[in-house]
């Protein structure tokens, strides 16, 4: 167990490597109840989110989800978010646990006067995620009133899991197919237990935060606090696509983001494969010709690639023209190879 943003979280249940492999090959079960849930209700909710976030959420169809960001006036990322439109006038915003208070405060502020109620619903929900190629097969017999096949990637629906009411969404943070089950806190344990019973014969294992981190890293997904933070805009992270300049009306950060889009990012996020067994960890320097040209944001062994991988921010121009890069791993310059992100992409 470990402390994480005020929550007690399982870092691992047994072996994080085995948990990672289970998600790639069969299925893993995650307790993600720490994630923040913020509800926006009312006829002005879509317009409020269009103003508050970088995305064009008012065009989201009910039953669909979108990955988006909330930025400060200067374009710095305050959090990355998944937004579900659960009904015409009902949106559920999923924030990182450590940022929930900031996101809530900002959404309240930015939604004021727009006919939308902003509510912290974090305590109303537990979140159980089942991820992996076997996830749909395991969940289907337990799902009531839900046609899982009709829930496309980045969509969700109300229904029942193990007889308990839930919002079931085909989203995740592992690079695999899978579902996130939002339920009442008191229903989390029976849902979890039913999924364990149903899934164990198919290879499902409970998986902790450590496996979640290596899975998302292989999938090239950014983590707030590592790849994302107030010092970068979405453009540095290679996620400029989440900024919808063509949406009507003003939105927070537009001016700064437009300027950054025009000038180009001040650094760029890359993937590295480390030519060693040693791990290039968060904060380690990246060097070209002995000069520091960047910094590692996340690093871990990749069970799928059988090599350590990392994401790093490089200065503009660094890493081009077959320049040899190294990572300073506690005093040793270890060669690193630029690798296209994501490191891993599941077969469709």
């Amino acid at each position: 167990m470990t402390s994480f943003a005020g929550w007690q979280m399982p870092l691992r249940y047994a072996s994080e490597t085995a948990e990672h492999q289970a998600v790639r090959r069969a299925a893993g079960l995650f307790d993600l109840s720490h994630m923040g849930e913020i509800r926006l209700s009312g006829p002005g909710a879509g317009a409020a989110l269009d103003y508050a976030l970088t995305g064009h959420l008012s065009t989201l169809r009910p039953g669909r989800a979108r990955y988006t960001m909330i930025c400060a006036d200067d374009g710095g990322v305050l959090d990355d978010l998944v937004v579900y439109r659960q009904d015409e006038d009902e949106f559920l915003v999923i924030a990182n646990a450590a940022n929930t208070d900031v996101v809530l405060t900002q959404l309240r502020d930015r939604a004021s006067g727009r006919d939308a109620q902003v509510t912290d619903a974090t305590g109303d929900y537990a979140l159980v995620a089942i991820q992996g190629p076997e996830a749909a097969g395991i969940l289907a017999p337990l799902a009531g009133g839900l046609d899982l096949g009709a829930i496309k990637y980045y969509a969700g629906a109300f229904g029942e899991v193990a007889g308990r009411k839930a919002w079931v969404a085909r989203t995740g943070y592992t690079g695999e197919d899978g579902f996130e089950v939002f339920c009442r806190p008191e229903d989390a344990e029976p849902i979890w237990s039913a999924l364990v019973v149903q899934g164990t014969p198919a290879g499902l294992v409970p998986a902790g935060l450590a496996a979640r981190d290596t899975l998302r890293l292989e999938a090239g997904m950014p983590l707030y606090g590592n790849e994302l933070g107030p010092d970068v805009t979405p453009f540095e992270a290679g996620l400029g696509r989440v900024v919808k300049f063509d949406k009507p009306g003003e939105f927070v950060g537009r001016e700064a983001l437009a300027a950054r889009a025009a000038s180009g990012p001040v650094k760029h996020l890359v993937g590295l494969t480390i030519q060693s067994r040693r791990i290039a960890r968060h904060g380690y320097p990246v060097l070209a010709d002995g000069q520091t040209c960047g910094i590692v944001t996340s690093g871990a062994p990749s069970p799928t690639l059988s090599a350590p991988i990392a994401m790093a921010y490089l200065e503009p121009g660094a890493g081009q023209d077959d320049q040899v890069l190294t990572v300073g791993i506690r005093g040793e310059a270890v060669p690193a190879r630029l690798t296209d992100l994501p490191f891993y992409r599941r077969r469709q």
């Binding site: 072996s15 994080e16 490597t17 450590a210 067994r277 791990i279 062994p301």
Partner: protein, 133 residues
């Protein structure tokens, strides 16, 4: 969790097994569990002199990197090269196949290996891990 009675221990979670003047060293099952899956071990160099309580290598797991401390004074005679290919032996069999290095220690006046006086017994070490939660 296993804490073999015949071994000596350190508060830094190394174990020591002594035969004559040869001391075998590894990390405890408790340490291996705390670290999680070990992915790399920086081994000391055979022939190197090690000092009790001083770092002589590193144990790297998925989530962290920790110094490996020598529990004894002496000269490294052998390292477990199996760990270069399979560092997970430290998790799977911490007290046997997962041993890390061997040290030739000086003989004391009694002809036995001269060990630092502050090594812990199995009971003392178990107590320490329990109080650590």
């Amino acid at each position: 969790m296993s804490v073999p009675a015949e071994l000596h221990y350190t508060p830094e979670h190394e174990w020591v097994s002594v035969e004559g003047t040869s001391a075998s060293v590894g990390i405890t099952e408790y340490a291996a569990q705390q670290l999680g899956d070990v992915v790399y071990i920086s081994l000391p160099t055979p022939g190197a002199t090690v000092t009790a309580g001083e770092p002589c290598g590193e144990v790297e797991s998925v989530k962290s990197v920790s110094d490996l401390y020598s529990p004894v004074d002496g000269e490294v005679t052998e390292v477990n090269t199996e760990l270069e290919d399979d560092p997970s032996l430290v998790n799977a069999e911490p007290y046997t196949a997962g041993w890390i290095f061997r040290v030739r220690v000086a003989q004391g006046g009694d002809g036995e290996a001269a060990l630092p006086p502050d090594l812990l017994s199995a009971a003392e070490y178990e107590e320490l891990t329990k109080s650590a939660g």
